[in-house]
């Protein structure tokens, strides 16, 4: 049904701008108003593609974690064995298309990456972790692309 949520957000931003902005008296209120306008813009970004974006993100993270598991299996260290346990404990891939379910899966995958930080991060210069060097490079590239996708241009100008 129209208006769609993104159209409501746009109408809200325009309405708030038209009716409230002229009434603002202090610099502080004007600053808060500007923040609100920026947040209206941010809230609309990526809403349309949130589900396919998360499905793709989760697929990519799961593949990287599987690759990390292969590397960990070649490392004779306790922390590597613990890392295998982290990957093996991951929940099965989500079949629901609900945002809340996909976000929960994403949190589980990102949490697993965080738990492997202690073995993946040093791999570049620790010979005992050499089997993890390739996945480290690909994981960093993935995290860079993910952060780049979340950058809000108005805040990095």
């Amino acid at each position: 049904m129209r208006p769609y949520p993104e159209e409501i957000l746009r109408a809200l931003a325009a309405g708030v701008g038209a009716h409230f902005a002229p009434e603002l008296r202090s610099d502080y209120a004007r600053a808060q108003f500007a923040f609100a306008m920026m947040l209206f813009t941010i809230a609309q970004q990526g809403a349309d593609t949130a589900v396919p974006d998360l499905i793709e993100e989760n697929r990519a993270l799961r593949a990287l974690l599987a690759e990390a598991r292969e590397g960990l299996a070649q490392v004779d260290r306790d922390d590597a064995r613990a890392g295998i346990g982290v990957v093996d404990a991951l929940p099965a891939a989500e079949t629901s298309l609900k945002l809340t379910d996909l976000r929960r899966e994403n949190d589980a995958l990102r949490d697993a990456v965080g738990k492997l930080a202690g073995v993946i991060e040093p791999a570049a210069d620790d010979a005992s972790l050499a089997p993890l060097r390739g996945v480290r490079e690909r994981l960093y590239a993935h995290l860079r692309a993910d952060a780049q996708r979340r950058v809000v241009p108005i805040l990095s100008a």
């Binding site: 990102r110 965080g114 738990k115 930080a117 995290l143 979340r150 950058v151 805040l155």
Partner: protein, 333 residues
């Protein structure tokens, strides 16, 4: 009315004052860790006639980006008075928060502006920029040579050698407490920090801990006051130098806070009596600074999501973190 409540507080704190009036009370935008209000006051005093003065009031917010300490900031401002570190003079504190609902303190209002981007990039400030850069380096050296024994409540590590580990533990614990979602980039950065601990400083120094362009007042004459001491603690002085160099504080200008090159700032700081800057230690503290900054916004995000504050700045700052993650991945790659 806030005017009347502030006037009542001043009447109580300045017994000799008669006919106290307060006007122009205005909240200053920004300052997400503590509310900052500006106001003017007038009163009559025997012998002095009519007195007119301008003040800044710093009040604890309902929730903030930082779990900071009003008492400490007041104590610090009091201790550094007369030390040569430019800073406003603090006058009164209400520790219990009885006069204005929450704890606050009042200090004198100094001339000048804080806007970092204007200072770093506006043509109007091109001539004063080198002078501000030098004053900023010299003031930092003075801060680092200040006797920390004069501020007993300053948080401090067990020894100089424990400085970096102490800060890592502090911010890791804050992240664990406040994060609403996993933080893989910060976990990777913490792993890097643990493996690249800097050599211990010669002694514990007063660390401002938010020494950035934007946290001091300046005008055409240069720096008029160093502000925002709420994160100050004892530790490794290079922590402040690392914070100065962070990309977030360049405002589109040069590497050292938008004011001058990295090498130039370090030279001026060392010549002014600052600590010797080890480049590996500097990188450690620059990585640490980005981690800390991201965690500050994680705390803000929790405050806004849990409805502890209506300050929309805290909702907005959450979206600065992807840029910090990019910077971190570049630094620790």
């Amino acid at each position: 009315m806030l005017e009347e409540r502030i006037a009542a507080f001043l009447r109580e704190r300045i017994p000799a004052a008669r006919d106290v009036s307060v006007e122009g009370v205005a909240r200053i935008p920004g300052g997400a860790s503590r509310e900052t209000w500006s106001f003017d006051a007038r009163w009559r005093e025997d012998g002095a006639g009519e007195v007119a003065r301008s003040f800044i009031l710093r009040r604890d917010p309902p929730a903030s980006l930082l779990d900071s300490n009003n008492n400490l900031e007041f104590e610090l401002y009091s201790a550094i008075e007369g030390s040569g570190i430019p800073a406003p003079r603090v006058l009164w504190i209400d520790r219990e928060g009885t006069a204005l609902d929450r704890p606050f303190f009042i200090m004198e209002r100094l001339p000048g502006a804080t806007d970092g981007r204007t200072l770093a990039t506006a043509a109007a400030f091109a001539e004063v920029r080198p002078k501000v850069a030098r004053q900023k380096a010299e003031a930092l050296a003075r801060i680092h040579n200040f006797d920390i024994a004069r501020v007993p409540s300053l948080d401090r590590p067990a020894s100089p050698a424990a400085s970096a580990a102490h800060e890592i533990a502090r911010w890791k614990s804050t992240m664990r407490k406040d994060m609403l979602e996993p933080q893989p980039v910060l976990e990777l950065a913490f792993s890097w920090l643990k493996r690249h601990l800097p050599p211990p400083p010669a002694r514990l120094a007063l660390v401002h801990a938010d020494y950035r362009t934007g946290n001091f007042l300046y005008d055409a004459s240069g720096i008029t006051g160093i502000l925002d001491w709420e994160m100050a603690h004892a530790g490794d002085p290079i922590e402040d130098v690392g914070w100065v160099m962070m990309k977030s504080w360049r405002w589109g200008g040069a590497e050292a806070g938008g004011l001058c090159s990295r090498d130039e700032f370090i030279r001026m700081y060392e010549e002014a009596g600052g600590a010797k800057v080890d480049r590996d230690a500097l990188k450690f503290w620059e990585v640490f600074g980005n981690v800390k900054f991201a965690i500050i916004f994680i705390t803000g995000t929790r405050s806004i999501v849990e409805g502890k504050t209506p300050d929309l700045l805290l909702a907005l700052t959450a979206f600065i973190n992807p840029g910090l993650e990019l910077e971190l991945l570049e630094l620790i790659a």
